[in-house]
Symmetry: C2
Subunit: 435 residues, 2 copies
């Protein structure tokens, strides 16, 4: 009896899941391994952090997504290592699985550039758990401010700093401004949430570096209208429990801010380094694995690396950006390449990225979009953003309710997820310590 070729996919993000789905009718057995039982719709994670959506609304259980795909199975587990010679992946629990084809789609994680200690005071926004913590941190800051009499302390609790002015940072800053100015405006007695200072900072010269200059300028103006203070050309020197030390061309400054959120850069996960080591693959400065024109690792035509973990050059030799679009197209490409090879078809064309554009949402009915080179802003851009995100969500699970919820929220400024669920019990008892 002929065993069907085994395809192992590591990671159920955009790249891995697209690859699995593209193998639907292929004569292969697909094993998708992820540490979580869900596919996370990361572009909306900031909405979980800011109380608009619940984790379940942006997390599609991998099993139900692949429930009808009979050639696919899902394993919950952490891949620790691979052996490219015997063609095995090794899981943290000791189990090992053999592959004929391997697709490594292990994604990225937030990078603190050697300052791991900052993570404690400035959480990032890469996982559901972190989003829940960020939500708690934001809501808790208003609660503490309500209890504090000292004006300087109160101001520090009402100062929110977002480090990194890429799309996630812009989206977070806009949403926090809306929480302070609209959602909570009548809820407190001692403070006025509108006094909150929301600062979006970046070492770059402008917000949204991947966007054209004019759209970045429009985004900055929209943020200003929402009450977000944009500070560019600012280097973070230190982050501690009380705030940040920053450096500008004018010198070094201290900024008291009890809520700091890290929307800085990303790096590769531990598995990325392991795969690079085992295959002796070249990596770039941030550890991404250089792949050939068919997205495979040099000398290992059976190992594909896709998504954030891959360094796949665009036409000019620069790496493709770490966004969902790239990962999805690469996942589909890898799946088709495997099918072609399994069937013994002639060599497939090289991977080519089809860039549909960039989108960043700023707030209610405000966004910027660069779609096929056309620059759009304001409500039209927001409508494009909403449409595209809804299509993706509906693709994975029937989530038409998200549309209705957004409509309600946008008309009423309410947010439905403002219950602050702490991951650590009884942390309300720290208020005095902070006073």
């Amino acid at each position: 009896m002929n065993r069907r070729p085994s395809v192992i996919i590591v990671g159920g993000g955009f790249g891995g899941l697209c690859a699995a789905q593209a193998l639907k009718s292929a004569p292969v057995d697909v094993t998708l391994i992820d540490r979580h039982n869900y596919h996370l719709f990361q572009p909306l994670l900031y909405q979980v952090a800011t109380g608009s959506l619940s984790p379940g609304e942006i997390a599609a259980p991998l099993r139900s997504v692949l429930s009808r795909q009979k050639n696919a199975r899902v394993l919950l587990g952490t891949v620790l290592d691979i052996d490219p010679l015997s063609k095995h992946v090794l899981l943290a629990d000791g189990a090992s699985f053999e592959y004929d084809w391997l697709i490594v789609a292990a994604g990225s994680q937030s990078a603190y550039y050697g300052h791991e200690a900052w993570r404690e005071w400035a959480p990032s926004l890469k996982s559901v758990e972190e989003a829940i913590d960020v939500r708690h941190k934001i809501l808790y800051a208003f609660e503490v401010a309500e209890r504090i009499a000292d004006p300087a302390q109160r101001r520090a609790w009402l100062t929110f700093v977002i480090v990194g002015a890429g799309p996630t940072g812009v989206e977070l800053a806009g949403a926090i401004a809306e929480i302070a100015r609209q959602t909570l405006k009548n809820d407190f007695r001692s403070i006025d949430p509108k006094e909150a200072q929301i600062i979006l900072m970046d070492s770059a010269a402008r917000v949204l570096p991947p966007f054209p200059e004019d759209l970045a300028e429009k985004a900055k103006r929209s943020l200003g209208k929402l009450g977000v203070e944009v500070r560019t050309g600012v280097m973070v020197k230190d982050i501690d429990k009380e705030g940040l030390t920053i450096q500008t061309h004018a010198g070094t400054n201290r900024l008291e801010a009890r809520t700091v959120i890290w929307a800085g850069g990303v790096t590769v996960p531990a598995l990325g380094k392991t795969v690079a080591g085992r295959t002796k693959a070249e990596t770039d400065g941030s550890g991404r694995i250089k792949v050939g024109p068919q997205l495979t690792v040099a000398n290992y035509p059976d190992i594909f690396v896709i998504g954030d973990l891959a360094f796949a050059p665009d036409g000019n030799g620069a790496p493709l950006p770490g966004v969902a679009q790239v990962a999805m197209q690469q996942g589909t490409y890898a799946a088709k390449a495997i099918v072609a090879r399994v069937k013994g078809e002639p060599k497939q064309a090289d991977f080519r990225y089809f860039d549909k554009g960039n989108l960043a949402v700023i707030g209610r009915w405000a966004a910027v979009a660069n779609v096929f080179g056309i620059h759009i802003s304001g409500l039209p851009a927001w409508l494009i953003w909403a449409f595209i995100h809804l299509m993706y969500i509906v693709q994975f699970q029937s989530r038409i309710l998200v549309l209705i919820q957004w409509a309600i929220q946008d008309l009423t400024f309410s947010r439905k997820e403002l219950a602050s669920v702490a991951t650590k019990p009884a942390d309300t008892d720290n208020i005095a310590a902070n006073m």
Copy 2:
């Protein structure tokens, strides 16, 4: 200048929140103190644990509920102690607040009857955090079973035991059965989730002790149809990581079950004991504070105790049950009593509980209800249950979407919150240890 009388309410559950709302037009200043920033709609907590609702959908932020009530403020904090002589409450963070009238509505917590070690293996269902953990535990058990080859081990992972056959236990058992038999039925490759064994056990002679005999019998039959095995007259002797030791009239038995959920009894929280100590109030066996006919503590007519923490006898001297209805009526009563006394009105009538009946839901379109003495079961009871719960939810926040979601879920057997968010990272790595 005359200071308005200060009313401090400890606890934002059904009793405390109703009291605060009933003081809306009263010439008093209301301070509501809770450890969380939300009012939790506890009767639906089992739906969070079983993936039907998100925490935000049953948690109404106290601030937004009381946002328009200008004489009320909300404080996030833990009340540690009271001084009934100087009339102060003391918070864990060191702050203290003076009251003229105090309403203690601190609720209850799950009781393990001297076996605190069981809590680790058999979580209860009193908080959002516990509900999230229980959800993770249930979903994770199926994931581990999928990975295990040994039939006995696999069976242990697919055995779910709910200890305590009151309404919460019945509701949980029914929902887990539906998850196994409907929601997950196509999602696994090695196991059939329908093989899962769901056992509901109680030391009492029948399920739903507060219900009439015939309804309890109907509930038991409905549970049987869903695939729940009901075992009554069973004493739990021990709970450990692997399962339970139980005692029946036939002797002592071992039951291998990796998922045990505690829906047993309740006891008073630490603050209950403190208040009893400070006021030298009488308590019953489970620590509840005995209150007079006007719900105040003996010798302290300015201290009301309401809800689960109060031992308030019904007409026959038996304590009123720890349910939302009782707490809400007591909260409204306490508020009215305070207003009457502040205004110097003649003595108010004693508290009388108006029992509207009991409801327990078993599964899709199945429930039992004892409404004004009329015994109802099946779909009609389910409709009453759904209507009443929706009315409560709508009362606190505009949550009409919950209705739409229930409709969709009931037609499709889907559950929208099946992403298993672990509170501890990387616990998927334990799978091997459990094999």
